[in-house]
């Protein structure tokens, strides 16, 4: 049997392939982006980047109804968008195996909230599996598809950021093809209106009881006993691996399935121990369920309800609970080192927009994408970041509250092309006839940049690639009846400044579409710029446009520090040269023509 090193995400893709999966759909979001990227390598599977998570789930749902094994994958907040179809789909008796793979983000390394997907399992009456290694990620996807078909239920596979990205050794198997019967008409099964939907409440209730019976006996929930210990630790997912590393003086019950729980099994086991402690990341779901069943357990008394439970965090909790660990502990203090926060890339097309908005000192309603970084210093331009597409509704509400309070002033929102197609279309349709002074800047960089450069419907226009699905945001908005729509090249800074400031003076909706492409994704590189230190007055205006290659520098023979551009990092966008008040920043292309002065 071949063994390879795979990430949790890659292992999910492999498991789906081995299980004979036929349709996989997703919307890119960290930490699960790599799942669908990996699925693409398996030619038997139809893989689809949908416009949003709801559509991804619906595509997978359709395949399942037709009998084809299906997978939808998304980040945790994506499930909020997909929850509408999911909460009704779960009432139907699942046909072809259906797994919903969700990536939670304890510690919020790349998300706007820390919600716990396990809560959805109870809400939707479905089984939820939690792998702790890439091998289990592969195995649990396959098992999940079987459980799905055997019990007529969707199954959630819950991953966390660290598991998605961590790698381990995975043993590979071959693909098993499944017979696909095609869609069979069955009105009571798929038409979720009364009285059919009423009947399905009972179906779901019985389904959960059956799954609970399975949980009691399942090898997914396994005890690792420790002779002579008086403590039982109940855990799942990566914290189990950290516990194995720490070697505590305790028996460990590893739950591979955290909904429904094997309550009877835990009740019986707990009788053999002085104390039972639940170690779970995020909300005390297992802890509360066991307490409700009358089992005396502790959990969040010792372990935090937010952030990741790492080896070091778990050790600290165990010490509090007076459980010894045999793994040695070292105490080493970290060095004090300057923080390194994310920043816009060299040549990023969002930079000039943020520079203009900072100067305009206007209220900006933000949205989700790379441009969310506009909240960071030195721009601090975006005043809100909530959820995908939310800027368009929010800005109307702010305007109306201002009007009521007689505090009317111009309002601006920024939204990217990815977010526009994900959940901005209905927001724009809603805004089309507003009479308030609202300016929306669409940052059309032709890609879903933050998640690694997946294509959007405007990628084709830039790449001139006819195989891509192409749309024009301007044409869509005009079709909505919005008249005040302009496209601009934001690297023409003075013009950009004028267009934005004029739009802010007009009542009604103005839309400005900034068309420069993502420099990182499309590898846009022009001759680098340089600073002439003899001309530079050290005013730091260029530093304030905040580009990775630009810093203050001590030049030989010059007392005061002057700005400097690292030629290896500069991609020649020219924005810094346009803000320089003394024209000290020039293109190296001029040097080659003999037109520069250095």
């Amino acid at each position: 049997m071949q063994k390879v090193v795979m990430s949790g995400n890659q292992a999910v893709a492999r498991g789906f392939w081995e299980a004979g999966g036929v349709v996989a759909a997703s919307y890119p979001g960290s930490p699960t982006v790599e799942i669908l990227e990996s699925v693409k390598a398996y030619k038997e599977i139809y893989s689809h980047w949908a416009m949003n998570e709801k559509i991804a789930l619906e595509i997978a749902m359709g395949s399942s109804m037709a009998g084809g094994r299906a997978m939808a994958s998304m980040k945790h907040v994506g499930l909020n968008i997909a929850a509408d179809p999911f909460m009704t789909f779960t009432q139907t008796k699942t046909n072809g195996g259906f797994v919903l793979v969700v990536g939670d983000d304890p510690g919020l390394s790349s998300s706007q909230n820390e919600q716990d997907t396990r809560v959805y399992a109870r809400f939707a009456n479905v089984a939820l599996l939690e792998p702790s290694t890439p091998q289990e990620a592969k195995d649990f996807v396959k098992l999940g598809l079987s459980l799905s078909e055997e019990n007529g239920t969707p199954v959630i596979i819950r991953l966390t950021s660290n598991l998605c990205h961590s790698r381990g050794v995975v043993a590979l198997s071959e693909r098993e093809e499944k017979d696909i019967p095609g869609f069979v008409k069955d009105q009571p099964r798929y038409n979720m209106l009364p009285p059919h939907a009423n009947r399905q409440q009972i179906f779901m209730h019985e389904r959960v009881l059956k799954l609970q019976g399975y949980a009691e006996e399942s090898p997914l929930n396994v005890l690792v006993p420790r002779e002579g210990s008086d403590t039982l630790l109940v855990t799942s997912s990566l914290p189990y691996c950290y516990l194995m590393e720490l070697k505590p003086e305790a028996s460990v019950l590893k739950l591979g399935m955290t909904f429904p729980l094997p309550v009877q099994k835990i009740r019986q086991l707990s009788h053999n121990y002085r104390q039972t402690i639940v170690i779970e990341e995020l909300v005390p779901l297992v802890e509360q369920e066991l307490k409700a069943a009358g089992i005396a357990v502790k959990g969040k008394d010792y372990f935090p309800f937010t952030g990741e439970l790492t080896t070091d965090v778990i050790r600290a909790g165990l010490i509090q609970a007076e459980v010894e660990c045999s793994a040695p502990q070292a105490t080493v203090e970290p060095s004090s080192s300057p923080r390194r926060t994310p920043m816009l890339c060299a040549g990023c097309p969002h930079r000039p927009i943020f520079d203009v908005l900072r100067e305009a000192d206007v209220t900006v309603i933000g949205d989700i994408g790379c441009y969310s970084l506009g909240i960071l210093e030195p721009f601090e331009v975006l005043n809100t970041v909530i959820s995908m597409g939310a800027s368009l509704g929010m800005i109307q509400g702010v305007a109306k509250a201002h009007r009521y309070a007689d505090k009317v002033r111009p309002l601006v929102a920024t939204i990217g092309d990815g977010t526009f197609f994900h959940s901005g279309l209905s927001g724009f349709a809603d805004l089309a006839r507003t009479e308030e002074n609202i300016t929306i800047i669409v940052l059309d960089n032709r890609t879903t940049a933050m998640t690694g450069g997946q294509s959007t419907p405007t990628t084709r226009d830039y790449l001139k690639d006819e195989s891509l699905y192409g749309m024009s945001i301007a044409e869509i908005l005009v079709a909505f009846g919005i008249r005040d729509v302009q496209e601009i090249d934001q690297f023409h800074l003075s013009k950009t400044r004028r267009v934005i400031s004029e739009a802010m003076e007009r009542d009604g909706l103005s839309v400005i579409i900034a068309k420069r492409p993502c420099a990182l994704n499309f590898k846009v590189v022009n001759p680098h710029f340089f600073v002439d230190p003899e001309v530079c007055i050290g005013c730091r205006r260029c530093i304030q446009v905040n580009c990775p290659p630009i810093s203050m520098h001590t030049y030989p023979g010059i007392d005061d520090s002057k700005s400097f551009i690292d030629p290896k990092m500069c991609v020649g966008c020219s924005v810094c040269s346009q803000v320089c008040p003394v024209k000290a920043i020039k293109s190296s292309a001029l040097l080659k023509k003999g037109g520069g002065s250095k």
């Binding site: 790349s110 990566l238 060095s335 926060t341 933050m450």
Partner: protein
């Protein structure tokens, strides 16, 4: 066989994920159990990036508990300093002699630490400085810096050169295999000839 832990630290865009994968694949090819951890996401936009590789007979966790790491490959100096507390006393740091200023340093709100090798030595760590960027440029391609650093790391690990060469060849673009193998040798030589 106890578990050996390697921390790999750098900045978004430095190719750290590939480096982590290569070390892990070498360990697997030599019959070890192996786990790695990675941070990605927002880190892609110039933030800090780290990877951990742990190998041995049985490896439970991808994360390196504080004070237990055996080696660090620091692709950027400040990031080497940031994660130094994960290493045990006497551990070896292969330090790329290269600085990328974080945002707050660019904005003059923080100062980039001077003499990172000295600070690491003061923590009781063996520090081997490698000029991978300059070496790579001399070889004609800045992207070779990572392979040079992997070569340097290989000198400290118990795996045959042949296995490294095989894994690197499988993981770099076919046209660049020869150049990458040269870079690997150069890094390995630099680490072994360096007087710490």
């Amino acid at each position: 066989m106890s578990v050996t832990s390697i921390m790999i630290a750098g900045v978004g865009g430095q190719g750290l994920v590939l480096a982590t994968r290569i070390v892990a694949s070498v360990a697997l090819a030599e019959g070890c159990d192996v786990k790695t951890g990675d941070v990605v996401g927002l880190a892609q936009r110039g933030g800090m990036v780290w990877g951990s590789v742990r190998f041995g007979e049985v490896v439970h966790s991808p994360l390196i508990p504080a004070g237990s790491g055996d080696f660090m490959l620091a692709m950027e100096a400040l990031e080497g300093l940031r994660w130094a507390h994960l290493l045990k006393p006497g551990a070896t740091v292969l330090l790329n002699n290269y600085s990328i200023f974080p945002n707050r340093v660019l904005l003059e709100k923080d100062v980039y630490p001077e003499d990172v090798p000295g600070l690491l030595k003061a923590r009781g760590l063996e520090t081997v400085s490698i000029d991978a960027e300059t070496m790579a440029e001399e070889m004609g391609n800045r992207k070779l810096a990572n392979t040079i650093l992997l070569g340097a790391l290989s000198a400290s690990l118990p795996f045959p050169v042949k296995t490294w060469q095989g894994v690197i060849s499988e993981n770099v673009p076919p046209k660049t295999v020869e150049l990458n193998l040269k870079a690997f040798d150069a890094g390995r030589d630099a680490a072994t000839s360096d007087n710490h």
